[in-house]
């Protein structure tokens, strides 16, 4: 009897957190799911009503939706890929002993702690096709002889926003991987030194295997965040020109801003399905640990 009485306490204690999560996460998700089956356009409130799978059909027949998915894949692949490579390189450097290491570690965090909208606006001016500092530098270095409209042409606008998101995300990887690096016992490296291992051998046979879990978790998390991010692209290009930088998240944002919440919710469901390919392995790894 006593055992049963005491067993209720843990549930009572987690109840406020659970209720909060249900209210701010599950209710909106459920609501979005419901809206995806409705003709829910606030510009035409009298026409709001159940529409079955109509939104799903319209989304699947929408060429802009498919091109946005393709762009999302590029955005994530190159964005997260280079964030990881450069973040890893930075973590290895920051793990060395050098003068003012603490200061350099702090400074390297700046892109990560800067708001995305501010980053977008800052890079927009860096890339500016008439007065931008990047163009000025390129001309002075003799790389080109006239200003390049980076954000005003299709060939350069997506790479330009990808470089920006790479710049923003490098510190995340470097700090997480640096923490992992500091957890690797030095005895492993000492043993490798005695065995005559070269630097690259230590990297591939000690460092990377030891960081495997950290790399897995940080990469999956970052894929989810980058795929969902809107702020940087929106403040730089709003998805243009000619939809050249419109990822699925930006398309959803644009549609929701236009008050077509049914259509936006339907696309959100597709994005959720897409991201579940990443989220499920992540959650499984989390549950395994516990």
């Amino acid at each position: 009897m006593n055992t049963r009485k005491f067993a209720i306490y843990p549930y009572l204690l987690i109840a406020p957190a659970l209720i909060f999560v249900i209210l701010v996460v599950f209710v909106p998700v459920f609501n979005a799911l419901l809206m995806s089956f409705q003709n829910y356009d606030l510009r035409r409130p009298s026409a709001i009503g159940f529409s079955g799978l109509k939104n799903y059909g319209s989304v699947l027949a929408d060429p802009i939706f498919w091109s946005s998915i393709a762009r999302t894949l590029l955005w994530v692949l190159f964005g997260v890929g280079f964030q990881f490579i450069l973040g890893f390189a930075l973590a290895l450097i920051l793990n060395q002993h050098f003068l003012m290491r603490g200061f350099v570690r702090s400074v390297s965090l700046i892109p990560w702690v800067t708001p995305g909208v501010l980053i977008g606006l800052m890079w927009r001016w860096i890339y500016d096709g008439n007065y931008g500092v990047l163009n000025d530098l390129l001309i002075k270095l003799g790389v080109c002889d006239e200003f390049i409209p980076f954000l005003a042409q299709k060939s350069t606008s997506l790479p330009a926003v990808i470089v920006t998101i790479i710049w923003q995300g490098i510190p995340f990887f470097s700090i997480m991987l640096l923490a992992g690096l500091q957890g690797i016992p030095s005895a492993l490296y000492e043993a490798a030194d005695i065995d005559g291992a070269k630097k690259y051998q230590k990297l591939f046979f000690i460092t990377i295997p030891s960081l495997r879990n950290t790399i897995f978790v940080t990469t999956l998390l970052r894929i989810i965040w980058v795929a969902n991010s809107v702020d940087v692209i929106f403040s730089m290009t709003e998805g243009g020109p000619a939809y050249a930088t419109q990822t699925l998240s930006v398309y959803i944002f644009n549609k929701a801003n236009s008050m077509n919440l049914g259509y936006a919710s339907t696309m959100s469901v597709f994005l959720m399905i897409l991201l579940s390919f990443v989220a499920v392995p992540y959650l499984r790894s989390m549950f395994k640990k516990h």
Partner: protein, 418 residues
């Protein structure tokens, strides 16, 4: 026992917080007796921000009814202002009154968010001093039988030009649409002989907001916004594409917005651009006498965009009488003359229009000369999305040669009138 104490403490904490919140709300309700009106607005530059705050201060000190207006500034952001306002009002956190663009009206009236101004206008003695036509346009915009929007000022687009550049190119101010296209070409020059263009004939606005000057090209060929797919409308679109493809506008044109076209004109990178009197003071500060304006010239047709700025009161406003006092101050009171004298927008009050400062200004003259053919974009529930997303992206696709002028116009027609 210890755990039970923790649980009881938690329950007590939650109950206390709930009551504390209730007490706070009561206090807020009691405070509303002093008629505080929250007003949202946008400003094109920091001077106008300060000006609005000065007007608010003046109103608060002189209204004699203890009304306090608190003006909060939000960026226009190519129309995003209206979307943010809608989200705020729908969420129950919006202001009492706000500066306004007519295009946003159907969305708000469809959701019953705007207050009906008819009962207030009926007894207002300032109504006769404003052209009835303006009130008719306000009524038409809401798609209801009532007026929900209070006129404030209008902005009529015209062409800015640099007389010194016209002289250097050896051309006169264009009298026809064909002359205008020829001037764009003639003004595009390599001034230092290095084989690269230094001055572009025209500052094209390809980002949001660019649909207004673009409309003039469509009418110039005899087309219209009512049907964008006619061969005349398509011909106007083709002109727009041609001036980009021929390099008569900066290569950044597909993403150039208000800031870029103004900066390019002020830096001498472009010889002409289209905007309204809202930017006239800054132009004179930069160029002195070496800047002037002409109405967009006539071709087979003639049209220029009449921008509008109004004010609205929201249905959720708890002090509607006080809010109307503020709207009336802006439409016909001191707020009308102060704002329009400083910003050089076209006043709606006939008494203010007659003042010499408006009658003797070259930019205002270009605006006034355009009144007879100025118009507004079709106010539909699709217009906001069309302006923000469809127009800039479709135009960019056409400028890049991804789609033809005809295909672009088909897309624009379909999305606007769907």
């Amino acid at each position: 026992m210890k755990k039970l104490t923790i649980v009881l403490l938690l329950v007590f904490l939650v109950i206390s917080m709930t009551f504390a919140q209730g007490a706070k709300e009561d206090a807020v309700k009691a405070g509303s007796v002093g008629a505080t009106i929250t007003h949202w607005y946008w400003a094109d530059n920091s001077k106008y921000s300060a000006l609005m705050q000065e007007m608010v201060k003046d109103f608060n000190e002189t209204n004699g009814k203890g009304i306090t207006v608190v003006a909060e500034e939000y960026p226009w952001d190519g129309g995003k202002y209206s979307e943010n306002l809608f989200t705020a009002v729908m969420g129950g956190g919006g202001p009492d009154t706000a500066s306004w663009k007519l295009t946003a009206t159907p969305l708000f009236t469809a959701n019953n968010l705007l207050a009906n101004l008819d009962p207030f206008l009926k007894d207002w003695d300032g109504k006769a001093g404003i052209d009835q036509n303006l009130f008719d346009i306000m009524k038409e915009a809401g798609k209801t039988d009532n007026i929900h929007v209070m006129p404030w000022n209008t902005q009529i687009l015209y062409v800015y030009y640099r007389p010194s550049m016209f002289k250097a190119a050896g051309i006169d101010v264009p009298k026809t649409y064909e002359d205008f296209l020829a001037a764009i070409k003639a003004l595009t020059r390599d001034t230092d002989g290095d084989g690269k263009t230094d001055v572009y004939g025209f500052g094209m606005r390809g980002a949001k907001g660019g649909q207004e000057p673009w409309g003039s090209f469509i009418y110039g060929r005899g087309g219209s916004l009512a049907d964008l797919t006619t061969k005349e409308s398509v011909a106007g679109m083709q002109d727009f594409i041609n001036i980009f493809e021929n390099g008569y506008v900066p290569p950044t044109a597909p993403s150039d917005g208000f800031s870029e076209i103004i900066a390019n004109f002020k830096s001498g990178k472009t010889a002409m651009t289209i905007h309204h009197t809202g930017s006239a003071i800054g132009m004179v500060e930069t160029f002195g006498d070496d800047v002037s304006a002409f109405p967009f010239p006539a071709g087979k047709g003639q049209w220029t965009s009449m921008g509008d700025t109004e004010n609205v009161m929201f249905e959720s406003c708890k002090n509607k009488d006080a809010a109307f006092e503020w709207l009336a101050y802006l439409a016909a009171g001191k707020g009308q003359s102060t704002w329009n004298e400083a910003t050089m927008n076209v006043p709606v009050s006939k008494a203010v229009q007659d003042q010499p400062i408006f009658q003797n200004n070259r930019f205002m003259k270009a605006s006034m000369s355009s009144v007879s053919y100025a118009g507004i974009f079709p106010i539909l529930d699709t217009t906001t999305e069309w302006i923000s997303v469809t127009w800039p992206n479709t135009i960019a696709r056409a400028l890049f040669g991804e789609i033809t002028a005809q295909q672009a116009m088909d897309i624009l027609q379909k999305d606007l009138y769907r």
